[in-house]
């Protein structure tokens, strides 16, 4: 596709959890829990409040179509604030400082006075029914000149366990939201910008790492299309694909619109009760439904079933809208007969609603009220197809396609959080914010200063282990050993099933220092780490004591005299082999000696001793 010609405009919103000690508006730890650790649960209903204009925000109203009961899991690491049973504390100053640091790194201007707002979210993910959010900075720029519009500090929502059940451990963790202008013109550019901002965020060393700690929302529109926000893209590598598929969807929807207009298509405004037609049906869904309603979409035949994105059809969009009424989905004649509905039933249905060949008929099956609501939603979405691409908030599906979530929220859904006082960002505070070195710069420095190769330097700089690496180097450990141990060795051991994550950073530091002090050979590192992992949690002892114990057990100190006597014995036992191979025996014999020494001695020392001994024998 020629994205330039299509007029692609894309922007992103990046949500990144901050690694602060406490949550944004209470003093709970920012700790994620296993749902099995929950200490209780409670349930609530949410209800949107009428605004001054007698309006309910359209996104909030959409969520209100169903009166839903939400259940929340609670933990001993959660307090009454997350329960919405206590007013919030003042804004966490640590979180504000991290947010200001990021703002400064992105060249933004801070708000002079930060006001916390309540943003209505009544999908259950916030116990209060709103998310607290504050605009902290404005107008930053990316290296390519793309504008960063805003940075906001907000509280993370509770995560959905399943259905209408949420877990409160995540609720309230500080989150920065960075919003770019719609300044990207290709799918790849969006992914690059997301990667760059992610790097900036990690450069602070104060953001959470791991799956789910960073999420991207992507805004996409094409000329003649509409702004669509796709929420919750967690994998960086999928971003370009998400944009490509959304462009594809908008192009397809515009083509469908043109074809519908050409055909003079329209939506029949009467909903027809067709329950009786299916009294003897074999379709299990239709059989158990109290009410089956049909909507005639005149001139839509073939288009409802047309693919608009891999795995998605116009019918899927209608189905998403209908699901807001609590139905499982819809059937339409473009995909029938199927699902236990026979050709004969379809013919009867068409005849009953007076559908011509170019018409499509959609049916919904549910209880009376839900079916009525769903039929209306199908009509609404069909009308939208005549207009083109609706503005929507969508959620990403696996592989990069997306499904409808709710209309785009208006600015109307925000009003002040009166329980939190505004915070002034004055000159002294802003000046006191120090900007950390970018990880890309750090990687370059590791190459020039430490002589690491570029790949390893980059890996270290971007790794979560960076602080340990820097501590090790500061303690005098050779950078290459530190880097290889922290990245390559640990990864290889983990791959072999060793629980290296149970070895503390302090233990690794003590181990590396011991190697550097020649108390153990670097060849022994994997064995020592394995033993540390195996015995983790057993007995007490400082990291240093644990490392000493493991070295004593796995790789006791061996003197040069011991090395020489072992080498002499090994060579003597294999004299014939040595004489036959000459210096070529060095390699195989090296293996035998190292095996005996179990890595207690540096390989270089062993190889020199062995070479000397072989030379003596052969001379």
């Amino acid at each position: 596709m020629n994205y330039q010609e299509l007029g692609l405009k894309a922007g992103i919103e990046i949500h990144q959890q901050l690694d602060t000690a406490e949550k944004l508006f209470c003093r709970c730890p920012t700790l994620l829990r296993d749902t099995a650790e929950r200490t209780g649960e409670f349930s609530r209903y949410l209800r949107a409040t009428e605004s001054e204009l007698g309006e309910i925000d359209r996104a909030a109203e959409e969520e209100m179509k169903l009166v839903r009961k939400f259940t929340y899991y609670t933990y001993d690491s959660v307090c009454l604030v997350e329960h919405d049973e206590e007013p919030p504390t003042p804004m966490n100053p640590e979180a504000l400082e991290v947010c200001l640091t990021i703002a400064k790194m992105l060249g933004m201007t801070p708000a002079e006075q930060v006001h916390t707002m309540r943003k209505l979210v009544i999908d259950g993910s916030n116990t209060s029914g709103f998310q607290r959010t504050a605009l902290v900075g404005l107008s930053g720029a990316l290296p390519d000149g793309c504008l960063i519009e805003t940075i906001c500090l907000e509280e993370e929502a509770a995560q959905r366990v399943e259905g209408e059940t949420f877990s409160l451990d995540r609720l309230g963790i500080p989150l920065v939201e960075i919003t770019t202008a719609p300044c990207m013109r290709t799918p790849e550019a969006v992914q690059e910008v997301a990667g760059y901002i992610g790097m900036v965020l990690r450069s602070t060393g104060r953001v959470k790492r791991g799956l789910g700690t960073i999420r991207q929302d992507i805004n996409v529109s094409i000329a003649g299309g509409a702004r669509v926000e796709i929420k919750g893209v967690q994998e960086l590598d999928l971003i370009a694909e998400v944009v490509r598929r959304e462009v594809q969807r908008q192009v397809a929807l515009l083509a469908i619109r043109d074809e519908l207009r050409e055909r003079g298509a329209r939506v029949d405004q009467t909903v027809v009760d067709v329950t009786a037609l299916f009294s003897g049906t074999k379709s299990s869904i239709l059989k158990k439904a109290k009410s089956i309603l049909a909507v005639r979409l005149c001139g839509f035949a073939g288009l409802v079933g047309r693919e608009i994105q891999p795995g998605r059809r116009l019918g899927s969009e209608m189905s998403d809208y209908a699901k807001k009424c609590g139905v499982g989905g819809i059937f339409h004649t473009d995909e029938l007969p199927a699902y236990g509905i026979t050709a004969e039933e379809v013919a009867r249905l068409r005849e009953f609603v007076g559908a011509a060949e170019e018409d499509c008929v959609a049916i919904v099956a549910a209880g009376r009220e839900r079916a009525g609501c769903a039929a209306e939603q199908v009509m609404i979405r069909a009308e939208m197809a005549l207009a083109g691409v609706p503005e929507e908030t969508r959620k990403m599906l696996d592989e990069g396609s997306s499904a409808y979530m709710r209309p785009l929220p208006g600015a109307a859904r925000m009003y002040p959080e009166t329980d939190v006082f505004p915070v002034v960002i004055d000159e002294p505070l802003w000046e006191s914010i120090t900007v950390p070195e970018l990880l890309t710069h750090r990687a370059e420095r590791f190459v020039s200063e430490f002589g690491l190769d570029e790949d390893l330097a980059r890996q270290v700089a971007f790794s979560e282990r960076l602080p340990t690496f820097e501590a090790a180097v500061a303690a005098g450990v050779r950078p290459t050993i530190a880097a290889r141990t922290l990245l390559a060795t640990c990864r290889e051991l983990a791959r072999d099933g060793v629980a290296v994550d149970r070895v503390s950073e302090d233990e690794i530091l003590a181990l590396l220092s011991a190697v550097e002090a020649d108390r153990a050979a670097k060849e022994a590192i994997p064995d020592l780490l394995t033993e540390l992992a195996r015995t983790a949690g057993e007995g007490a002892g400082t990291p240093q004591e644990r490392v000493d114990a493991v070295i004593a057990k796995m790789a006791p100190a061996v003197s040069q005299a011991d090395v020489e006597s072992i080498v002499r014995r090994v060579v003597a036992e294999r004299e014939a082999f040595a004489r036959e191979r000459g210096m070529g025996a060095l390699g195989p014999l090296m293996g035998v000696v190292m095996q005996e020494l179990r890595g207690s001695v540096d390989g270089k020392v062993v190889s020199e001793t062995l070479r000397r001994e072989l030379g003596r024998l052969l001379s």
């Binding site: 409670f42 349930s43 609530r44 209903y45 949410l46 209800r47 949107a48 409040t49 009428e50 605004s51 001054e52 204009l53 007698g54 909030a60 009961k69 009454l80 329960h83 919405d84 049973e85 206590e86 007013p87 933004m108 201007t109 708000a111 002079e112 006075q113 930060v114 006001h115 707002m117 309540r118 943003k119 209505l120 009544i122 116990t127 209060s128 029914g129 709103f130 959010t133 504050a134 605009l135 404005l138 107008s139 720029a141 504008l147 519009e149 805003t150 906001c152 208006g410 600015a411 109307a412 859904r413 925000m414 009003y415 002040p416 009166t418 505004p422 002034v424």
Partner: protein, 401 residues
């Protein structure tokens, strides 16, 4: 407004001045504070269209309830521009906010006050009791009083002493602000309406029973106390079980055998109160001079330690006060349990100078009762006897908890 800061200029709406900063709502919905010199006027916002009005049609076949508002919020509107939350008092506005109310009853509305409940006073309790009485006399099948939660217990008790009612008089409030989608206001109000339309025949407080939106408890006005600053289930019956529960969302009401039933007695109002009464919580080392402030008072309720004590140093001074005509009633800051001044010497000394044992009355309820008793009974011995007699469920003959 045009807001210029850093590189870009943004537009927004001016809201207010705060701490020398101009608060503006940017077009993206966020408010920020800025120095006034960074903004300039570019135009005036179109005036807000009037708030959605219109009368909600009510079902004439349902019983009529009266909603009396005092300032507590059961329905509100939010101005998303300024953040101002406006309380709604008219029956139509309340019905628009909580439409399910229309399935329970018809409503008429009456406003007695529009104040924060910490600003309540005995004079407003009297206005309230008169208004409730008036509504009952005019045929209300039940009365709902919306009230700020801080002092709702005092008001409910005050109305209970002043008024005999054959229909339910239900006090209701909300602990979590009405603008939030999670507010307890709607559920509490629906439950209070179910009680007001039901079988109860006394004054009660209806509020969340637990942190869940699953049921409300019906508390006797003279046994209820706000026991938490912020939780939904802050109101608890102290020393007794609630009068019943309302399940939500079914709104099924269940009443205990203790609850007085609808139709018991005739409406009767005795609204005199003696306002020169006070409640004093004693603490170790409290200076005797504190009592100077209550010189000439008709009544003083002490919230004493444990079984009902104050320092022995206080005894001569209290004797003088009592001899001077102040009724002194002892309650306990333990809140739970009964006062007994016959166990320790200090208690026996207090009794000997004429301190009245407040039995298991809550200190605040004892204060309200003392105001009412002294307002209606001038004979000190009669007043003393009344203070120790259960008039409105405030004293239980047996301690069950």
């Amino acid at each position: 407004m045009r807001y210029a800061n850093g590189g870009t200029a943004l537009t927004g709406t001016y809201i207010a001045e705060r701490d020398g900063m101009a608060v503006i709502k940017l077009d993206n919905g966020y408010n920020i504070g800025t120095s006034p010199q960074k903004i300039e006027l570019v135009g005036r916002a179109a005036p807000q269209p009037p708030a959605g009005a219109g009368v909600v049609v009510q079902n004439p076949d349902l019983p009529e309830l009266s909603i009396i508002s005092t300032g507590g919020t059961i329905a509100s509107r939010v101005d998303y521009r300024t953040g101002a939350v406006t309380s709604q008092f008219s029956a139509s506005d309340i019905l628009r906010a909580i439409p399910e109310l229309g399935d329970i009853a018809r409503y008429r509305d009456r406003q007695v006050a529009s104040i924060l409940s910490e600003n309540m006073s005995p004079a407003i309790w009297q206005d309230l009791a008169r208004a409730v009485y008036d509504e009952i006399r005019h045929g209300a099948s039940g009365v709902i009083v919306t009230h700020g939660t801080d002092t709702m217990g005092y008001s409910a008790a005050a109305v209970r002493f002043m008024l005999k009612t054959p229909v339910p008089v239900v006090f209701v409030g909300s602990q979590r602000s009405a603008d939030r989608p999670s507010s307890d206001n709607a559920m509490n109000t629906l439950c209070s309406a179910a009680v007001a339309a039901g079988d109860l025949g006394e004054v009660a407080v209806v509020m969340h029973a637990t942190t869940n939106d699953d049921r409300c408890a019906i508390h006797r006005a003279t046994r209820v106390r706000k026991m938490h600053t912020s939780r939904r289930d802050a109101f608890q019956s102290v020393g007794s079980a609630p009068l019943g529960y309302v399940d939500y969302p079914s709104l099924a009401v269940s009443l205990s055998d203790e609850a007085v039933r609808r139709g018991t007695g005739e409406p009767e109002l005795r609204d005199a109160l003696e306002e020169r009464c006070a409640l004093l919580q004693y603490y170790p080392g409290m200076p005797l001079s504190v009592l100077d402030a209550f010189e000439g008072y008709a009544g003083l309720v002490l919230s004493g330690t444990g079984l009902g004590h104050v320092s022995t140093d206080w005894i001569p001074r209290l004797r003088d006060m009592i001899e001077g005509g102040t009724a002194v009633v002892m309650t306990s800051q333990c809140l739970h349990g009964r006062v007994c001044d016959r166990v320790y010497n200090t208690g026996r000394d207090l009794l000997s100078i004429g301190v009245i044992e407040g039995e298991d009355m809550l200190p605040e309820v004892a204060l309200v009762k003392l105001m009412w008793v002294l307002g209606n009974e001038s004979d000190p011995e009669e007043a003393r006897a009344l203070m120790q007699t259960d008039l409105a469920g405030e004293i239980q003959r047996r301690s069950i908890a």
